[in-house]
Symmetry: C2
Subunit: 426 residues, 2 copies
Amino acid sequence: MKITKLTNNISLKRQLEGGNEEQLKTVRNVLQDVRENGDEALRKYSEMWDGIKLDDFRVSQEEIEEAVANFDEQLKQDLEEAAANIRYYHEAQKRDGYKLPLANGSWLAQRIIPLDAVGLYVPGGSAAYPSSVLMNVIPAQVAGVERIVITSPAGKDGKLPAAVLVAASILGVNEIYKVGGAQAIAALAYGTETIAPVDKITGPGNIYVALAKREVFGEVAIDMIAGPSEIAVLADDSAYADEVAADLLSQAEHDALACAVLITTSEKLANEVAEEVEKQLRELPREAIARKSIENFGHIYIAESMEQAIEAVNSLAPEHLEVVTENAESDAEKIRHAGAIFVGRYSSEPVGDYFAGTNHVLPTNSTARFASGLNVDDFIKRSNVVYYSEQTWQESAPKIARLARMEGLEGHARAVESRGWTKGDK
Amino acid sequence: MKITKLTNNISLKRQLEGGNEEQLKTVRNVLQDVRENGDEALRKYSEMWDGIKLDDFRVSQEEIEEAVANFDEQLKQDLEEAAANIRYYHEAQKRDGYKLPLANGSWLAQRIIPLDAVGLYVPGGSAAYPSSVLMNVIPAQVAGVERIVITSPAGKDGKLPAAVLVAASILGVNEIYKVGGAQAIAALAYGTETIAPVDKITGPGNIYVALAKREVFGEVAIDMIAGPSEIAVLADDSAYADEVAADLLSQAEHDALACAVLITTSEKLANEVAEEVEKQLRELPREAIARKSIENFGHIYIAESMEQAIEAVNSLAPEHLEVVTENAESDAEKIRHAGAIFVGRYSSEPVGDYFAGTNHVLPTNSTARFASGLNVDDFIKRSNVVYYSEQTWQESAPKIARLARMEGLEGHARAVESRGWTKGDK
């Protein structure tokens, strides 16, 4: 791992693949086809791309029950405990609107209303990600969303991974479809004979899924387009090199484009971590991926002071930050820009990926400067409500009319004044 | 105005101009030019498109003071009162994060942090929109944003409209630049020698501004891309036709693509409103615009029942809704999808455009199904914080490691387990 002195111009931004013209064309064709031909198009693409023939996309209650019955009991308990922790953390985000009284019986209010329906895309492929199900579904449930749909490509056996079905079952979600790719996003956005449309689509996916989400954005809401994972570790002499190295590798193993960075005031730790990373890399099952990430985007920076180091972290705005310093809690308070912050030696980053309760869907590529991790507010919307009494109207109408005329909007002025126009009683 | 019986398939969605290839190419060139050449590029485009030569883009303190000194005192007071009302409504949206204690000294927290810097684009052209300044700046100020920048194209005289400067001055904003168009968005996103970059850009603009905002999205945050205005009025026999007509026209006068719709249980009101709209249209200064809007997108629907009418409003998800019925307050409570709701006869929609305190930046084109008006949360972000004590780590490490291995992420499991690896004390 490269070690250099910290300068003021460090960044973890990477040029990310945005999809090429041909991919976009494919996606647009799929979207239009599903919009026009519904289930028939879904069947066509499932056969073409996933190599499976499906009469019925919906996962049956029997399939869910079978997955649950055959699942490892210990793992099921672990998932249940994780779900309870995630629910506990997100429950605190729930909030009511408010009503503000004005003079003369008038009032203003903000109403908080959950979305009617949301869809979660769960990627297929070699691994199953039940933690994704928990992290996306629970905030929506806490928000009060009534209809939650999961869609994911089936394997060659025509089934979804048991772990995904078990996670859904733990949460009480049973509207699950075996549809993947851009066609799944189209189905969620436009609806088909089988799948009613939703108001928001969340969840990660490959480049076709990401492009499809971008295309349907506006028609429905989408979550952020997630980039490769990142971790920054802020550490001083008090940190253990093997633990820091293991944590850096935990994110590097996600993706060759993942980015793992150590910023430390300790030259000794810097050298030890570099050695440890190499040592641990050699024993990692996903060595090939993690090595590419470390070689291309891994970096150890030696800072002159903790102040300089903290400033550097704020300029990185990393997705994940670990603070492993003597004064971890107070150092962490100085961080303004990070998706999630793990404070102290025992708060290893994967604690938050799976179990602690915080959400693992987090802003990447420095967008933590202005974006947040997935949370309950992502599944509600707000309505402003105004009630003006006759007296409030009377007092404010001349002011409003003047402001409207200043902007050249005579019709606005007249609308407000119309309540005073001569007319009979009702 | 067309009058038809209400059916279940009404919609106010319009096919909106998304900009053509040539416009997009122009915008991309401008963005790249400003990114590479900074102020020099800004000067070039200001001369090319706005026809003005500027040495200094920043509005001077003297210019602001001059605008304030020469401004109509009554209008200034009206703006001040509006600003106070808007602040009052938005203050209630401010909130703190939270900290949740766990067993054994561990805790989870959510921290709420204001964005560092935001930029507001104020469009130029024939009219000045000081209300836009109030509606965009105040939520950012309430959120705690420290740096707020306004940018707007100067007129041929090299000046910004006095009303915009006065509104900014009332709010204490003095970082104001005379730059418009796509080049202004580029300057806010990338920064130049004169203009430091911001984290989020809000505010409406022409098609070039809208395309530029879309292009820089990801680099910085943006607000929604606003569509033409909409109003739906839900009314029964108790409503006055001249008032309903005036309110419909107040939105129709905004834009030929604006949409004004009445849904009523009263055939009598329907006929009277249609007549009144025609009568008032003939006397409206912006008749040409409003007439196009009414002819193309205006509609009166006669509902069989209030239930059917309310269901129809929810399927429209209008930007603005007025509820002018016998039981306005309880009918309004049944609305799930509307950007802003105006309850009762005296709550004419322009009341909210200028003065009541609610925000007038609202979701259009049925996006109120999943989107909210501009609010304080648009100017903050959230960080998740995790602190695990040694004991909590000890208890949960085996569970986390099992979950990680289930997903095939051995590096994650080892990171958590590394705290237990044999090593010396620090």
